[in-house]
């Protein structure tokens, strides 16, 4: 197998708690000296007297997978040394404090991976067909919108 055949791009939408260890293991390999990660969690937030108690996520699942593949192609074009990419994203109900997304990128040296992980979360927010609504302690709800 050549190096490029061994490269993994793994995307998972999950209704369960995200395992950071599983994400790390997915991108680990003996040719990778560096793993850069990002984990997004729901902050405890108060908006006009209402308290956020959690988020409810939905996705256009098949399209999310194909947009993830495009995202990986884009990353590999910009940082050809990137070895493996793994993104796990929650669906359904996510309580305040829990991770809604965990992603890791491995590379032989750290600089490429560190730049690539920043690009990965930006592009994910801009292009993957995933939506969340905030749910408040007043039982009100509000669909969110990512900044451009």
């Amino acid at each position: 197998m050549t190096e490029s055949e061994e490269r993994r791009d793994v995307f998972k939408l999950s209704r369960d708690w995200l395992s950071v260890q599983e994400v790390v293991d997915t991108v680990s390999g003996s040719s990778c000296g560096a793993i850069s990660m990002f984990i997004g969690t729901t902050r405890e937030d108060e908006l006009g007297g209402r308290k956020v108690i959690g988020l409810d996520y939905e996705a256009y699942e098949l399209m999310a997978q194909s947009e993830f593949s495009k995202l990986c192609d884009d990353i590999r074009e910009r940082w050809p040394t990137v070895t493996h990419v793994c993104v796990h994203h929650r669906l359904g109900w996510v309580k305040v404090g829990e991770a809604s997304v965990a992603m890791a990128i491995s590379s032989p040296h750290r600089h490429d991976g560190q730049q690539a992980i920043r690009h990965c979360i930006e592009r994910l927010k801009a292009s993957l067909p995933i939506w969340k609504k905030e749910v408040y302690d007043t039982q009100e709800e509000s669909w969110k919108e990512n900044a451009e």
Binding site: S100, P129, W131, K133, W143
Partner: protein
């Protein structure tokens, strides 16, 4: 020509239409994405609340609402895509 397409709604657009997906049996094709949006507005006038905020995804490809012309085939998926908020 017309095509029978499957329209998928997500997020706010589900609440406005009351459906997650529906078959539309005779969509003219080719059609501009603006005319396709008008056609959905006729069926679900409350979608007007998302005017200027949504895009389509036609066969998993984003299409802005405007002059762009799309060619539809029977069984094609067209999704109404409100502002994204993943991550």
């Amino acid at each position: 020509m017309t095509a029978q397409v499957c329209v998928l709604y997500f997020a706010k657009s589900v609440e406005l239409t009351g459906v997650k997906e529906e078959e539309i049996v005779a969509v003219p094709t080719p059609i501009s994405s603006r005319d396709l949006w008008s056609l959905l507005l006729q069926r679900h006038p409350r979608l007007l609340l998302l005017q200027d905020q949504v895009v389509f995804a036609v066969r998993h490809q984003y299409v802005a609402i405007g002059d762009q012309v799309v060619t539809l085939g029977d069984g094609d998926e067209v999704a109404v895509v409100p502002p994204l908020s993943g991550g």
